[in-house]
Amino acid sequence: MNKSYIALWAVFLASSAIAATAGAVFCQDQLLFSPGHESVTAAFQQFSSLIVGDWQQNGRLFVEWQPALFRNIFFWTIVCVPLVFLVHYLAIGPKSFSHEKGEVFYFGVFTRLVHWVAAVFFSLLVLTGLTMVFGKLFGGGALVRSARYVHIVSALIFAIDAPVMFLIWVKDMLPKPYDIKWLFMMGGYLSKAKRPVPAGRFNAGQKMWFWLSTLGGGYMAWSGYRMFSFGAETGALRVAAIIHNFLGAALAGFFMIHLYMSLFAIKGSLKSMLTGYKPREEVEILHSRYHAD
């Protein structure tokens, strides 16, 4: 009876000795962190990395830029661009071309359809986007919230339509050496004279608009989706929001340029996208390299 107790005692001692040794070997680093000696600062640092994360990296940037910078960029874009065009319209005036020399078939039915779907929903995107940027003026609430919903739906439709538009036009939109020349003479829009300007099926301005609206629009859709779904780390969301705002201002600016050119600067330009025909004189002057291509 006594012997068995001693044996049990021995087994108990031996096993605890093994456990203690193993503990000391495997948990040596933990022995250094006994509750009495750990640093509060170190604990706070750990809390900060868990809770605040990488806020310092771009959170501060976002907080500094969003309240004023973005709104100012949009404000000056929608004020300055139309102002420049008003001056242009008054000082130089629109170009008009006669239809007497006949017409050139420029845009097919499908192209026009794709263009107008993009046009309608891109216009909605710009308008609702600006409504959100200047949400304070509208007092927020149902109006701005609805603008946000329209923005989301329009973005979805534009994201389907834009790739088709990209495929239709990408070949004609590739940069050519004479595009630089076009840019230097501002496409001939600074003079009233009708001298042929170096441009193919599309001029350098149209090409810039094309690449910005398709590739830029693609990034807008991607960053917008991230912001919509919160489908990224918070830091990446901030970057998405920052670029979405800058790119959005650029797109809004180019959108207004496009509107001015098609509605005012060239008489009958809007008609060509409705009927598909451009006056031969206009093609010979504004797209002088079109047939040469």
Binding site: F47, I51, G59, F62, Q66, G135, V153, T234
Partner: protein
Amino acid sequence: MARMKFLCDVERCINCNGCVIACKEGNKVPVGINRRRVVAINEGRPGEKSVSISCMHCADAPCIAVCPVKAIYQREDGIVLVNKDICIGCGYCFMACPFGAPQFPSGQVFGARGAMDKCTFCAGGPAETFSEKERKLYGQNRIAEGKPPLCAAMCSTKALLAGDADVISDIYRKRAFQRGSGAGAWGWDKAYQDK
């Protein structure tokens, strides 16, 4: 006027999550939204600590700065509140907040986010005090009743303190003096730099 602040004493917090449950249940917060959460470090190891974190009701709050529709505002007593009738759910406040306080319910329209929800310091919202609308949108208004926020009121170890900054920092100072350690409360140097 008194400046309302939260203070979580990490030397006392035992990671029981009672504050989270009290807030969620007492304010009838929808599933998927946590106005308060507990973050733990070194769980199950020596040096284990936890901190209860929600909206800090910051001075010069980043969320107020970035809100594009001025839906967020700060009361005289420092409590930061959101007006859900104005909020458009853009999420900028979430991106701006260093503490991850703003929460968003999934909305009814195209799965777009609904209005932002966050800790109200149990001070209700901009709707009429004690009205049905206030209770439904923002939860209880315990401050108007003269009570502390639910989370701090039920904290079993009184790790979480809420109320007049002078009073709670005094309590914390006494504790720190008695313990001889744990001088600064977590987050205070960041959230309350100004006042």
